[in-house]
Amino acid sequence: MNDCAIEVGGLSKLYRIGGEQKLYPTLRESVAGAITSRFRRNGNGAKSNAREFWALKDVNFQVQRGEVVGIIGRNGAGKSTLLKILSRITDPTEGEIEIDGRVGSLLEVGTGFHPELTGRENVFLNGAILGMKRREIAGKFDEIVAFAETEKFLDTPVKFYSSGMYTRLAFAVAAHLEPEILIVDEVLAVGDASFQKKCLGKMNDVSKQGRTVLFVSHNMTALRSLCTRAVWLENGKVMENGHTTDVVGSYMRKNTIANPESVWSEGSAPGDDRIRLRSVRLISRSNSTDQITVHTPLSIEFTYWNTMPGAVLNISALLYTSEEICVLVTVSDFRPRAVGLIRHILEIPGDFLNANSYFVNMLIVKDASVPILRQDNVLSFDVVEGEVTGNWYGATPGTVRPKLVWKSEAVDASEIDLATARAQSD
């Protein structure tokens, strides 16, 4: 394989986290530490206070020239550490990396932007920091400004920019970086929807020009459409490396439906001698069991034991997003319940929830007024993007995304005018 752009072999990175969790060691501590550790070593065996943490452990992969490779994994899986090592910001502890080509890395949008400097000055500053030559920046200056749409404010210090303008200008500089190997961290998670769309469009362009791109993102839709291959990192190790669709699929299977059911044994079940929870389950009502997309119809099944004959019980489900925004509260019917096992099934239609992580709290109320059982976080699940229609890969805003009825038709202008006139005269 002669056409490797990046070759990573046996890569490991060790971080030492101080036992006392001090951010900056002071000289005194360091001196004191050196003395005490010597004593310890002489005494009853060395016992280091520092905790060791392998951010990466024996990572191997190759990236061919012109490949667009996505890196996925949960927070803390080692993605950022990997990018930092590839960008030469930090050294590996073990292993080797061979990189063939000029590397441009974008671990952040607007690195080095200075608030006191004008937009124009910051373009040159940021460009130089990203490794562009002055001549190169000057040559692309007009393009950069046009892309950022900030012509009018070029000579204003960026501290007076809105955050949107700031991000646009910063991304515009980065977008005009022309390395052979581009390393991009989750920089696309910033900005508004239309800006994200522009960024992803730009990423798409870059990937089509035959550049080698290494792209970290949590946006699975973008990854699936941009990357030919994906590497899944977990706990500093490569879990899977292959076709994006396969890797993303297995990553999602592992990581979504975080807690699709809660079943309690009799001893530990929440409740008291009146009511005792038995289980809460999330059921997908679609044929494919793989993952829950925005189109999947869902059911939530609640079961509990009731010991009060004829008690009027009802159940409420409170649905929250992972940002703890309450999406909705829904209440079951009020009716006397028999003694024994009671089951409630809540149906959530497909094309209703947005792509997001959700969790469910529940509440059982007696006689429509006395809460007798409240249980938080009985379920959590992820809803992912469905099939992409059009070329929009960014996130759709909103806590819900219902399919609502649209009536669209061609009409006669005179009819509308007549109708409005009539409405006004009424």
Binding site: Y15, Y24, P25, T26, L27, R28, S30, K84, I85, L86, S87, R88, I89, T90, D91, P92, T93, E94, G95, E96, I97, E98, I99, D100, G101, R102, V103, S105, L107, E108, T111, G112, H114, E116, L117, E121, F124, L125, A128, I129, L130, G131, K133, R134, K140, E143, A146, F147, E149, H176, E178, E180, K198, G201, K202, D205, V206, Q209, G210, R211
Partner: protein, 285 residues
């Protein structure tokens, strides 16, 4: 999207292969790479110059006010109480000592804190870290250039004529900067791990002023040998040498040589120490 630029096809320059592996022990210094990043060096220095006097009323005048007031203080406290000024008009004597001293101390202070102040760059982008303290020192040169004009004016006012030794002025300016870089490399690298350096820097500079012949002439140190010992302080040779280039006395002697040797010893040590610590900056800062 017409605004999206069409990017030129990739041209691969040769010799761009990078091999990354754990580095242990002492590393060579890549001056070639530093040269490659010279534009960044310049643009960072320019940034600091531009930002320095933003939102101040007096602006660049501050570069004049500080040494001027200090000079007046020295005249009032020391010259009026009979301290020797080597037979030169006291304001010229003090001001010509203060200029290289302030170049050094300002450079040292900014260089010593430079890595900490640029940590957002260090954790996000690769470039030779040496660029940061060097850029900090270039910045201090601007202040120096401005107050240098005032020195010329003072010399004209007190009719102190320059001599041909002024041709060697750039050498001593460079030496002052190298001295600041030499110490600055050690301290900035230490500062990444030990924030104590931030506080040490303040009074280190204060003490150092008294160990340097700024307020007093080196000739006040009587014996030849003691003067050589004074030369171990690199700034002794630089300040005395600077005065010599400005008005031709006192001529440089063994003290100057000792200072130059100290500067280069500290600088070489500093470069290697900095290089050794460099790889841990992003993790520790």
């Amino acid at each position: 999207m017409s605004a999206v630029p069409v990017v030129a096809p990739v041209i691969r320059p040769a010799g761009r292969r990078v091999h990354l592996r754990p580095q242990t022990g002492w590393q060579p210094i890549h001056f070639g790479e530093l040269w490659h990043y010279r534009e960044l060096l310049w643009i960072l220095a320019l940034r600091d110059v531009k930002v320095r006097y933003k939102q101040t009323v007096l602006g660049v005048t501050w570069a004049l006010i500080q040494p001027f007031l200090q000079m007046i203080l020295f005249v009032a406290v020391f010259a009026k109480n009979g301290f020797s000024t080597d037979g030169v008009a006291a304001p010229v004597f003090y001001f010509s000592g203060l200029l290289p001293w302030l170049l050094f101390s300002n450079s040292l202070t900014t260089a010593g804190n430079s890595l900490i102040n640029n940590q957002h760059l260090i954790t996000k982008v690769y470039f030779p870290r040496l660029v940061i303290p060097i850029a900090a020192i270039i910045t201090a040169l601007i202040d120096f250039a401005i107050s240098f004009a005032l020195l010329i004016a003072l010399m004209a006012w007190y009719r102190v004529p320059p001599t041909s030794s002024i041709l060697l002025l750039p050498v001593f300016i460079l030496l002052a900067m190298l001295a600041a870089l030499a110490v600055g490399l050690w301290l900035s690298a230490l500062n990444v791990q030990y924030r104590d350096v931030r506080y040490v820097l303040g009074f280190l500079v204060q003490f150092w002023l008294f160990a340097t012949p700024v307020i007093y002439p080196a000739s006040m140190v009587k014996t030849h040998w003691r003067r050589i010992v004074l030369g171990i302080n690199p700034m002794s040779g630089v300040v005395e040498g600077f005065r010599w280039t400005m008005y031709g006395k006192p001529a440089p002697g063994p003290m100057t040589l000792v200072s130059v040797i100290t500067i280069f010893a500290l600088l070489i040590g500093g470069l290697f120490y900095f290089r050794r610590m460099e790889k841990t900056f992003a993790d520790l800062i």
